[in-house]
C-alpha cells in the first residue's frame, strides 16, 4: 500500500467521522473559528492601518538646515557625505534662494522682502533607506555632528510614533494568536480524546486484526487538521463579514478627514495562511492527544 493510498484512506475515514456528527463538527468549527477570528481580525486591521500610514506620509524624511554663514564649500561637503552614506536612499538640496522663492509663492513675500536680506539657510531633505526608529535616531545623531549643520529635524515624528504603535499592535496580536491558538490545540486535544474513547472498541479490534499504530493514528491526525481548517474557514468568514459591515462607515469616517480610505479584507495569501495555521494547530492538538491516549497498548 503506497503512501498516497494510505493517506487517502485515512483522509476518507476522517471525513466520514466528521460527517457522521454534523452538529458536533459544526460546533467545534464555530468554537475554533470564533477564537481564531480575533487575531485574524487584528492582523487585517493592522494591515489596513499600516497601508493608511504609508499612504498619508510616504516615507518620513529628515531635514538638515545649515548655518547662516555656510558657503558653497560646505554644501559640497554635505553633498559628498550624503552620497557616501549607505543608509541614505535619496536627498535633495534646497538652496536659500529656492527656499525663499517657495515662501514668496506661498504669499509671505512681503514679510521677507522687508528684511532686506535672505534669512533662510541652505537645507537638505534626506530620505533614509528604511523606516525603523533606530535608523532615524542614528542618522539624526550623525547629521548633527557634521560641520556647518545647524539643526537636524525629523519630519513627521507622528509617523514614527504610529510605527511604534503598529509594532506594539503586532505584538499584541501575536500574543492573542498564541493564546487562542493554544485554546484551539486544547479543544482539538479534547475532541480527539473523546473520539478515542468512543472508538476504543474499534481500535482494539483493529489491533487484534493486525492494524499498525500509524494506521490507527492517521485518521485522527487528519480529523484534527480538517477540524482546524474548518475553524480557519469560519474565522475567515467572520473577518470578511466584519469588513463588509465596517467598510462603509470606515470610509465615510475617513472622508470627514478628507482622506480616501477603504477597509480591505484578507487577500488570498493571508486567507491561505490563516487556514494553514488553523490546520496546523488542529494537527498539533490531535498529535498530542493521540500520543497521550493511544500510548498504552491494550491488546
Amino acid at each position: 500500500m503506497n503512501w498516497l493510498n494510505v493517506h487517502a484512506r485515512a483522509f476518507a475515514q476522517a471525513v466520514t467521522r466528521l460527517a457522521s456528527q454534523p452538529l458536533g463538527t459544526l460546533l467545534s468549527a464555530m468554537v475554533v473559528g470564533i477564537a481564531l477570528s480575533l487575531p485574524a481580525a487584528g492582523f487585517v486591521l493592522l494591515e489596513n492601518v499600516a497601508t493608511l500610514a504609508r499612504g498619508v506620509s510616504g516615507t518620513p524624511e529628515i531635514s538638515l538646515f545649515l548655518e547662516q554663514g555656510a558657503g558653497v564649500d560646505d554644501v559640497g561637503e554635505i553633498t559628498r557625505r550624503l552620497q557616501q552614506e549607505a543608509a541614505v536612499a535619496s536627498f535633495r538640496h534646497v538652496s536659500r534662494e529656492e527656499a525663499l522663492l517657495q515662501l514668496e509663492r506661498g504669499g509671505l513675500g512681503d514679510v521677507l522682502g522687508g528684511l532686506g536680506s535672505n534669512p533662510l539657510p541652505d537645507a537638505f531633505v534626506v530620505t533614509p533607506r528604511g523606516e525603523s526608529p533606530e535608523l532615524y535616531e542614528r542618522l539624526h545623531a550623525l547629521f548633527s555632528n557634521w560641520p556647518a549643520v545647524e539643526h537636524v529635524q525629523l519630519d513627521s515624528a507622528w509617523v514614527q510614533r504610529l510605527h511604534a504603535l503598529l509594532g506594539l499592535g503586532k505584538s499584541a496580536v501575536l500574543l492573542l494568536a498564541g493564546l487562542l491558538g493554544f485554546a484551539l490545540v486544547i479543544v482539538t486535544f479534547n475532541t480527539i480524546r473523546l473520539q478515542i474513547l468512543t472508538l476504543r472498541h474499534e481500535i482494539d479490534v483493529s489491533r487484534l486484526l493486525g492494524a499498525t499504530d500509524p494506521f490507527i493514528r492517521r485518521p485522527f491526525y487528519w480529523f484534527g487538521s480538517l477540524q482546524g481548517a474548518l475553524g480557519g474557514l469560519v474565522a475567515l468568514a467572520t473577518v470578511w463579514l466584519s469588513v463588509e459591515a465596517l467598510g462603509p462607515p470606515a470610509a465615510s469616517l475617513a472622508a470627514t478627514y478628507g482622506a480616501v480610505f477603504s477597509l480591505s479584507g484578507p487577500g488570498l495569501h493571508e486567507a491561505l495562511a490563516i487556514i494553514a495555521f488553523a490546520a496546523f494547530l488542529g494537527w498539533l492538538g490531535s498529535a498530542i492527544s493521540v500520543r497521550r491516549h493511544l500510548a498504552e497498548r491494550l491488546v
Binding site: 500500500m1 493510498n5 494510505v6 484512506r9 472498541h201 474499534e202 482494539d204 479490534v205 483493529s206 489491533r207 487484534l208 486484526l209 493486525g210 492494524a211 499498525t212 499504530d213 494506521f215 497498548r297 491488546v299
Partner: protein, 221 residues
C-alpha cells in the same frame, strides 16, 4: 509450527494462569484445547497472537521466538493468523460485509479483490447473501460465524479460535466444528479451545488438556 517451552504466565496481582507449559503443534494439525473454566485456555491462545506475553519460557511460531517481539512487529504476526476470540468482537455499527472486510482494509488489499474475498468468506461460513445486514440483527451463532469469516478472509495458515461454540446449542456447535474441520482439510493449522469434550470427537483431533495452568493431558491424532 507452534512451540511452547516451559511457558509461565503470571498476571499482575500474582495469579499464575500458566505454570510451565510445553507442547508442539505441527503444520496442518487440528488441535482441540480443553480444560475447566479458569484453567488457562484463553491465556494460552492469547500468547500465540502476542496479546499476552509469557512471564518466562518461550513461544515460537515457525521457529521465530515471539515472546520478545518488538511492538512494531506484532501487527505483522497477527496478520498471519486467523483469530476468533471468546467474545465475538464485531463492530456493531458496521455491516456484516464491512466487519469481514476489516482485516483486508488493514493490510491495504485492493478494494475490488477484497470485496470478492468477503463474499467468498461469507459463503464459506454459510452466510452468503447476508453481507448488508447489521450484526445486531443476527443470532449468536450467526455472529460467531461472521467472526470466523473475518478470521479466514486473509487466508491465514494458522487459525486460532477460543470457545467459538460457547453460547450455541449443540446442533449449531456441530456445524461450527464441521467448518473448522473443513478449514483444516484445506491445509490450515487449527487450534480451537472448547469446554465440550465430545464436540470434535468424530474428527479424531490432537488434544491438549489444561488443568490449573498445567498440561494434564496431551494426545496426537
Amino acid at each position: 509450527m507452534i512451540n511452547f517451552e516451559q511457558v509461565v504466565k503470571s498476571y499482575p496481582g500474582g495469579y499464575t494462569a500458566l505454570a510451565g507449559v510445553s507442547f508442539e503443534i505441527r503444520h496442518g494439525e487440528l488441535v482441540v484445547l480443553s480444560g475447566h473454566s479458569g484453567a488457562g485456555k484463553s491465556t494460552l491462545l492469547k500468547m500465540i497472537a502476542a496479546i499476552e506475553r509469557p512471564s518466562s519460557g518461550s513461544v515460537k511460531i515457525n521457529g521465530q521466538d515471539i515472546s520478545h517481539l518488538k511492538p512494531t512487529a506484532i501487527p505483522y504476526l497477527r496478520r498471519s493468523l486467523g483469530l476468533v476470540l471468546q467474545e465475538s468482537r464485531l463492530l456493531f455499527d458496521r455491516s456484516v460485509a464491512e466487519n469481514v472486510m476489516l482485516p483486508l482494509v488493514i493490510t491495504g488489499h485492493p478494494p475490488r479483490d477484497a470485496a470478492k474475498r468477503v463474499v467468498a468468506a461469507l459463503e464459506r461460513v454459510g452466510l452468503g447473501g447476508r453481507d448488508r445486514e447489521m450484526p445486531a440483527g443476527l443470532s449468536g451463532g450467526e455472529q460467531q460465524r461472521v467472526a470466523i469469516a473475518r478470521a479466514i478472509v486473509n487466508r491465514p495458515s494458522i487459525l486460532i479460535a477460543d470457545e467459538p461454540t460457547a453460547h450455541l446449542d449443540s446442533a449449531y456447535a456441530d456445524e461450527i466444528a464441521k467448518l473448522f474441520k473443513s478449514f483444516n482439510e484445506a491445509g490450515v493449522t487449527v487450534l480451537v479451545s472448547t469446554h465440550d469434550d465430545k464436540l470434535f470427537a468424530e474428527y479424531r483431533p490432537s488434544r491438549l488438556v489444561l488443568g490449573k495452568g498445567l498440561l494434564i493431558g496431551a494426545a496426537a491424532s
